[in-house]
Symmetry: D2
Subunit: 481 residues, 4 copies
């Protein structure tokens, strides 16, 4: 690591090796060669055998990974054109084929198709990590499906939910992300061999005006590069609209993770749920005892950045002029890798956290007990209505007393005396015993939370995980905080 100049923290600190490699020069330039091979083979197969020979193809395939980067870089400095520099270097390795490499193609033939291939592979990594997080959350949700914990609206105590039920909400969000990944992959097609402005003019010339052959060759190139289809029409590039959808799909994951992370940070304050804490980890230089939710805080920040990248792609797409302007180049060169690297970093954290979260049931219970009299008011309302009171009337009475009880707690630091207040009020048709009975039955406050959790896991989540069997589970989620 060079300490004299800026180093990108995404690489030096947060991301997995696999994702870093996908966006390396090596990956890019070898994929360019795969594109050139696919093109030459397809041209050969559809009849350009007077120009292209089997020997040339063999030579090209043999040298796919045989790149002398220094020669290419030197050539690029000279002619200021990266694609032509690599055509040149490939030609040095393939003297026989040197005249037919990139035949009829424009730079974006290799650049666009390579972008698409890398994104396809990057999404496979992302999906794999996402599934692992879903799996972790599902197992955790199942384990704690019955453990009551205080539910909050306005971050004020509402009714209890269960630890597990709350987890299903995060899972549902992630499954929506997964659905959009699949949607994106269904939209992702090869850019194929379309020529300078998308008209395939040069290829039509090469194939002496045979439209059908040009069309088939285009499709063949796509297949050789692992795509089932090509974009029907392109300009010089595939539509930059696709980038916008890519970024939104990843930002969706960021947003889901952010929502989870913020909740976790609040739960950490409440001492109900904590992220794993590594041995030897120092809370802070001065406050050793603290269990700072640093992973969740980092997730929050990384997700914020990821979400902040998405709009860029819309601006770029919507400001492309005609067949293409190059204001997309520098920003895509930074933002596409950043989107994937950030998502990778976030999911690494999400996997790590969900693999070993710590629950404190006594604390969960403590919070409920302090609010139970308040929370029982809905039950009391219902019960009173069933005894014939108007909902409006009992609502008013209960409101009045609960505000008073709330004040007692806040202003005098005393215990919650709501039940006694209600029992003492003649308008309320319950004795103190009846009221205490209502509170005593704690399981009645969590409604269908355990059942909802079980149903959702059984009917939606585990079947989905089964469908992706074998496509996840091996990611590296070791992180440093």
């Amino acid at each position: 690591m060079n300490r004299d100049i800026y180093q990108e923290p995404l690489v030096s600190r947060y991301t997995s090796k696999a994702m870093q490699q996908l966006f390396s020069e090596k990956k890019k330039f070898t994929t360019w060669r795969k594109c050139w091979i696919a093109l030459a083979e397809s041209q050969y197969e559809y009849g350009l055998t007077d120009i292209i020979t089997a020997e040339m193809l063999h030579e090209m395939r043999a040298n796919c990974e045989n790149i002398d980067y220094d020669i290419a870089a030197a050539k690029e400095r000279e002619i200021r054109h990266d694609v032509m520099a690599h055509v040149y270097e490939y030609g040095l390795k393939c003297p026989k084929a040197s005249g037919i490499i990139h035949l009829g193609a424009t730079s974006q033939f290799v650049v666009c198709n390579t972008d698409l291939i890398i994104q396809r592979e990057a999404f496979a990594l992302i999906r794999s990590a996402l599934l692992q997080v879903i799996k972790n959350l599902a197992d955790f949700a199942y384990k704690y499906r019955q453990l009551p914990t205080l539910g909050y609206t306005h971050y004020q105590p509402a009714q209890p939910v269960t630890i597990g039920k709350r987890m299903t909400l995060y899972i549902q969000d992630l499954i929506m992300d997964l659905d959009y990944i699949e949607m994106f992959l269904s939209q992702l097609k090869a850019r194929g061999a379309k020529g300078t402005v998308g008209t395939q003019a040069t290829f039509l010339e090469l194939f002496k005006g045979d439209h059908e052959k040009v069309r088939l060759m285009d499709q063949r190139v796509a297949e050789k590069l692992g795509f089932s289809d090509t974009f029907a029409v392109t300009s010089q590039t595939y539509t930059r609209k696709l980038d916008m959808k890519m970024a939104e799909t990843l930002a969706g994951i960021g947003a889901s993770a952010h929502k989870f992370a913020v909740d976790l940070r609040l739960l950490s304050n409440l001492k109900v749920l904590e992220e794993p804490f590594e041995k030897n980890q120092t809370g802070s230089s001065a406050m050793a005892y603290k269990r700072n939710p640093m992973r969740a805080e980092r997730m929050t920040g990384l997700a914020r950045k990821l979400m902040g990248l998405a709009p860029n792609f819309g601006v770029t797409f919507s400001n492309q002029w005609f067949e293409r302007t190059l204001d997309d180049s520098a920003i895509r060169r930074m933002d596409i890798p950043q989107c994937f690297l950030l998502t990778d970093a976030i999911l690494k954290l999400y996997m790590n956290i969900t693999s070993d979260m710590v629950v404190f049931p006594k604390q969960a219970s403590r919070h409920i007990l302090a609010e139970l009299p308040f929370m029982a008011t809905e039950k009391i309302l219902m019960e009173a209505v069933s005894r014939g009171m108007s909902r409006q009337d009992i609502h008013e009475i209960v409101k009045e007393h609960s505000i008073a009880a709330g004040r007692t707690v806040k202003e005098q630091g005393r215990d919650n005396d709501l039940m006694q207040r209600l029992a003492d009020d003649d308008r309320v048709p319950f004795s103190i015993d009846e009221l205490e009975d209502i509170i005593a039955d704690q399981s009645g406050f969590i409604g269908r939370a355990p059942e909802q959790t079980e149903e959702y896991l059984r009917e939606a989540v585990y079947p989905l995980l089964d469908r992706y069997e074998g496509q996840f589970g091996t990611q590296d989620s070791i992180i440093t905080v």
Copy 2:
């Protein structure tokens, strides 16, 4: 119109009545009543016949649209709660049912379900307009599939395309938008009857612990409201993640329209393509002759705003704490209508423009002629390679002469003399006659553009429009500039 205070321009200037109505108080409050009716009916059907009677249901249905807004507003000012105010007002109209309206429900039961219903209907309007734009563009593309026009990369002349082929790129973008609308609609489900924090605790109580009945009732409410399914799990609200996808889907349309509008504004400068210009329209106070592309400029600005709204929803979703915080309320109240109204305004413009665009073939041709010698260089390169020259060598020679010819044009205002320069160069294996021949055959420069256009329209666009037969075509696209 009240001229003493601010008036929202989206309503006063840009949008269709149909969309304005969807986001009216009337639509909202009558839909709330439909939700209450669906709830009461479902509760009745699954057995709460001791509390709810057929007569009550009849009364509720009869008064669905019978709202005294002033009473509700007065009550809201008093109790500061809009849902309870409308429960009260509905109760005045339905004295028998007054005790069972909203039974077991929380405010978000009506608020969320109504939001979802309105969004479903709003997307139907949007889709209809979008299809009409696609239709307009497809017909226009077919008509001009063979008319050559200069293609640009870097906004510098590249190779020619055709007017029609370029239109297919806009269509392809819009079809991607359409695909994402369908995707969104497949994700949109009822929020159903889930209770205060999503546990259905109150409903479980009402149904005396019968889980199956609560589940069925939830599903039944959804069906009555026109949904095939409900979200399996919710917090107090349906996941705000869905909002994010809604906004991205609409922003996608904005971005597609923006790209089109910017191109049109450039074409207007080039005098190749113009938007319709109304009789009596004044270009500007001082420059009467101008044909300002004001619709396209307005589209650009509206689309920019629409795209700028999307990130808000991600921030809201990702900062929701636990079962819900109310920092979503004011912003959703503004941004959801704005998203749909902006999209409506943009599509109105897009329909209007594409229904009557003006092409100037002589200008299109003039631009090509000025650049034809340059554009022939690719052909010359190909031809020279086929005569045995190395691509690199001929590339260098042609480059040298074309730069010189370019200078002649720019610096001396003279005609393009590239062909003569090449003919005079001994290294170039072509006579001036051969070179002129290359230029003369203009149809050879547009490659497969006409065929691509036809194929795409025939194989993708018209079949799609057929599938949506009857779901579009009647929108109002009269606009004022």
Copy 3:
């Protein structure tokens, strides 16, 4: 209020009448007339007395507010040009002057100058409200400058601060906002009389080539409109860069308010600090006892929207082509009022909340007591170092025990036993009595918080408020939640 179509909630719900009026048609069109009067007067003063007469000027001044909006609107529908429509209508009222209204001007003469005048007035309203909030916070900070409350980092207990000291942080942020308002106002100048593309060509003609007179007239118009200066150079409009700074300045206020609001929402959960709660306000339909921080939640949402608007202006500015494109029109028409209205709404809430916040000292104390043993560790570290231990060693020991004590609390729900654990450890050079002494002296934990608060208020805040004496204090901060 029309309930059949969408109504902008900013107006119907959140903002002050004064701000709504600033962005009304009435304000706009009467200000246009003021611009026309200023122009005609200045032209007259610098010598166009052959064309313009004192009688005409008198007529124009007399009819400044005499606008028949329906006639203007009808004319606009006919000629599709709002400025010319109002020139026409003004001409009807001023038959003598009708030929010289708008003489030599382009539409943007009235549009830009009016925009700038309205923004200047809007900023005065904003500044006034901002100062009131600072005042409220300052008084509150002074009152509670000594009341300890738990400080948090990572939202984990850190060391105590005081209620008042924390308030100074919000004040400091708002003063930075105020500084940027003043900075903006120093950048805001008249657009003046610059002509169609900024060259003043028509005016130069009117003044028969007298450059000096054109320049002086331009300056004179500015002065008549209340500006000390004009932009030295403009295109058709004043630079859209200024809009960007306007929006950022307001977004800054939004961000400051958002930070405060989020803290308040957390404090509300902690029961330490609450926003005012109105009589008759209903917490929620089902949970009457709740003291939901709804104002703070609304501030959060409004601020999010405000912050989300700022980027639009940068995109508009940076995409203006040459002397002006009209993609700025629709978006500015919406976003400029929205920025000011949102800020107005936020400051109304901020004034309201800070005028009557409720502190619960017993709760503040309770939170500190639970963490006091932990918080004393820094003191213990310092003390041990002063007794000769290495900071590293004692850090490790304290860390070990505080983690164990933390676990006791979380896992067993028992009291914090850290002091006893330390006393029992031979490596620690303190007896239990010494340790308890350290805790007992609570005032030692808040450091200089009271003094910092006093110093800051005395040296920075109150002097600043004095400088603005008379410019604030009368705003309407009555709000509805």
Copy 4:
């Protein structure tokens, strides 16, 4: 360069060495040491001579740059705390001082102060480059202050301006950026020595309750670090609001550059103005003749990214909870360097382009000539009004004919015949000779453009450059495209 993993393109491609170094680990860690030295010296000066000795201070100063990064990194891996790891490593180098390094401080003492120091230095680099751009533009503007070129509104021909006058608009924008840089620098203060939550509790203890000494020491530390002042109040960190302003200030430069770059790209299409083109630069693989405005396109993309970063800082600031949450860490670690590096890259390009722009006067003239009859209409309107026609009447007549003439050009590709059409119309009080006279006098169409340019340069720009004499002019603006 490691080609196996992702490399940040900002560093490998676009930025200056000086800026890269500012954000290096070396710069960061040596500045941390400077902070520790300043702290120890100040503590010593204000009386902690029983703990701190002159010898210790000498040792610390001597080892300021003597860092063994590998030891620090290994320690960090062990204890997971970068600041404590460097305290440890510094202690190894300074055995005598090891116990007093970082005495009473929290991590943010070094982190925040270092951030602020680096930003101050980075802004100096930015300002220097910005001034050079202003200088280049000013010289260019002066040179071409009289050269007419077509002005555009709606990107439709309006009236002519001059090349130089248009440049003054870009200068004005950049001077506004400069003003905001100075504003920012006036807001930037030291974070100073404030302690864990900003209360200076530990320092108060060290100074045995002497408030004045703590205050003076805080100020002294600031001075030693080159600041004239410290923030009066801080939480654990200086307010994150400052970051927001930093990012907006830089984004402003991005926006100004973007506006310029887009205009330049359009001018490049019009062949009126071109960026420099390097020898050996290859336009594209297939189109050698093209003079692609690649620098301006790159500026556009980089500026888009820069502008897209600014909102992140507002989100971070406004979501900081209480005295600090660590969701700011990862995103600031990436976004602060990115903001400065992007601005650096943009200004490098801007300097490069403006140092050698190519004007084509013949092309500028050609565009004016084609539109001159149209552009004369304003003159004709004015002249006709002065001959007694009503502005409305002549406006209508001219409009009618100019629309017809416009059609002739567009539809028939013929020359502009507007003058003849007007002469042939009896209602128009001018002969063809009079009309041709109006056109012939070309200098009359540019109004005060040359004078405005001169005045602005003389009165505003050059005096400003004089004030900054010696603070700019040496930047490296060599770039690779």
